[in-house]
Symmetry: C2
């Protein structure tokens, strides 16, 4: 098997249960992709990431092009070998981080020039260079360079921005087809833009499908518009996407965001939240968020979730986790990042099973009730 295909296995309402077949392994969807920004899912061994049930991880083109550099990673055998992860990897285009992290950006029709946030060195990123970098890294799923339209944007601004992204998408596809480093079975995803405007999302989705991609992402969400508005946009955007291709909601989100977006037909997600929050003492559990910094955990002998299959959630007391976080111990960040990724993966597994069994509606109701009830009280 050396091609990239998506099989839709089951549906419930708009929700989809599927599998993406890639030369590096299958991706069960709906899928959450842990973020391995600079070639590491922070504070986790790749073995652990795999054991939590993650089929695919994400790498950030922006970070990797600055350090150690795409050509350097290629010379070392590619990103999979570099970071010791043999499953599929998705890389973003670098565009989002150029906008959010770099200094002294200059946008043009050609692309963007910017200075590294690390050492001020100057770089260029064009649709063609982004694809070249992603192929050098060896990414199994690559993303077109786009402009992530800021929020809020007027209809005119959003239209202008979306049209630029569309022209870049076309150039990205051409560059992808011509890339000498590209391997059989690697895929390229387009990204629907258009901010909160239905007509623009429609125009973007249609134009991208004219170009033709292996999957379609929804971009420009989770950028400050709030959950309600995000879901409203998803309500009219998801149906614009072809049923026989995976759909990826970029940069999302909380467990509740995932449940809501899966219900609207999204197949793939990525977010730094479980690892970043974990490093800051915040746990995601069946019972909602638990802030381990809080002094109420100082003498609590109970684990985060005794029913969890993750040792981090099951085998350590809240008192110990509190102690580690309070003392800035690396093990605290390791355990909570692990526990959070495990919780996200178990949530996705539950969603997949619920859709297969036609039980999504009741699963969502139970999930909402458990999260609303909050953390289990001390005995």
């Amino acid at each position: 098997m050396s091609s990239f295909t998506y099989d839709l296995l089951a549906e419930e309402g708009a929700a989809r249960r599927g599998v993406i077949l890639t030369p590096r392994g299958d991706i069960q969807t709906p899928a959450f992709m842990p973020v391995g920004t600079a070639g590491t899912v922070k504070a986790l061994y790749t073995d652990q990431v795999k054991e939590t049930g993650a089929d695919i991880v994400l790498g950030n083109t922006y970070h990797l092009m600055l350090r150690p550099g795409a050509e350097e990673v290629a010379a070392l055998g590619g990103l999979h070998s570099f970071m010791n992860w043999q499953g599929p990897i998705l890389t973003d285009s670098g565009g989002f981080q150029v906008m959010s992290l770099s200094k002294l950006r200059k946008m043009s029709e050609e692309g963007v020039t910017f200075q590294s946030h690390i050492d001020g060195a100057s770089y260029e990123l064009s649709p063609e260079r982004s694809i070249e970098i992603q192929c050098l890294l060896g990414a199994d799923i690559q993303m077109v360079l786009d402009e992530c339209t800021p929020f809020p944007a007027t209809h005119d601004e959003a239209s202008h921005s979306m049209k630029l992204s569309t022209r870049w998408a076309k150039r990205s596809k051409a560059a992808f087809l011509n890339q000498p480093h590209r391997k059989e079975g690697q895929a390229l995803f387009g990204i629907v833009q258009g901010s909160v405007y239905e007509d623009l999302r429609k125009e973007s989705a249609a134009a991208l499908q004219d170009i033709g991609f292996d999957g379609y992402a929804v971009g420009g969400l989770a950028v400050g518009e709030g959950q309600e508005e995000m879901l409203r946009v998803l309500d009219f955007t998801a149906p614009l996407l072809p049923k026989d291709r995976p759909r990826y909601l970029m940069g999302v989100g909380t467990p509740d965001d995932l449940v809501e977006a899966v219900s609207r037909g999204v197949d793939m997600f990525d977010c730094v939240m479980p690892t970043r929050s974990g490093r800051h003492g915040q746990a995601f559990t069946r019972f909602g968020k638990v802030n381990l910094k809080n002094a109420r955990h100082a003498n609590d002998p109970r684990p985060l979730d005794e029913a969890s299959s993750c040792p981090a959630a099951r085998d350590y007391s809240r008192a110990y986790l509190h102690h580690l976080i309070k003392n800035g111990e690396i093990l605290g960040m390791m355990l909570l990042s692990w526990s959070n990724i495990a919780y996200y993966q178990s949530l996705m597994a539950d969603l997949r099973q619920a859709i297969e069994e036609g039980n999504l509606a009741s699963f969502v109701a139970r999930f909402k009730a458990e999260q609303a009830a909050g953390d289990i009280p001390a005995p």
Copy 2:
């Protein structure tokens, strides 16, 4: 088996191969004890610590009495349960860190009062309170409170300090015998002081043996006197200790220190060096120290040591380790701490085997040659 015993299995010159039997498991000696300062061997899971071959870890009374507190750990089931380590634990008395970390110390015959370096709160530590804390923690091997004589010290200063430590050792033993929290099979070690003066070391060792302890530590070394002087002191101090009890050289050291001290009859060691250096990008290997921060590793595809049984040393390129350390990634600290502890444990295993086989002299020669030859050159 609920008692604490030491069996001497083999000797070569002054070097000893033995085993300490404790209710929580055997400790093969010579042994290196990873330091779990505040209830965690920094950046390692306890499973990993065990798998590297460590039979016992160390906990620091000073850190644990401040946070979370000895009574708090006891209420949570003791230190083993708290940190998820089921093997033996040795705790120090707290005295060394009071001297090196705390503020506003006041020493008296009774003990020491000090302010926490964390929040300035006031604490008292006496021989009796130190034992009480160590019993509350549930330590399998406990240390008497002593004054670690600073270096350099005049003969008068060292004598005065050693005599205070001897009086405290006597009180510690009485407190240990009377401790209601003490469990069968828990052991108490005395600590020989006397700085660099042979007559004082002799006086200290004799006085401690009069009191009677389950093991004997050599204190007041590795405090700035240099390796040559340390070994000179060991040369006349180790023979002062009973053959049927384990001997522990506190706070030592580099791999070369361990080899030299084992050759002089030391059985137990602890040191933060492998974990602390690991967090700062320094690896200990068969080929000597390797500083992963150095740019020469940036494109090196080779692992630290392809023959290592530790995945951290075997399965990741130096280029990747360099990248992680350069980017301040937690995984870099995790991998190098792991690799270093694994190297220390494999060195101890090699030393044990060499003594068993009567090959210590040739092992030491080979070790010195490998370390002197330095890191393997790039291919």
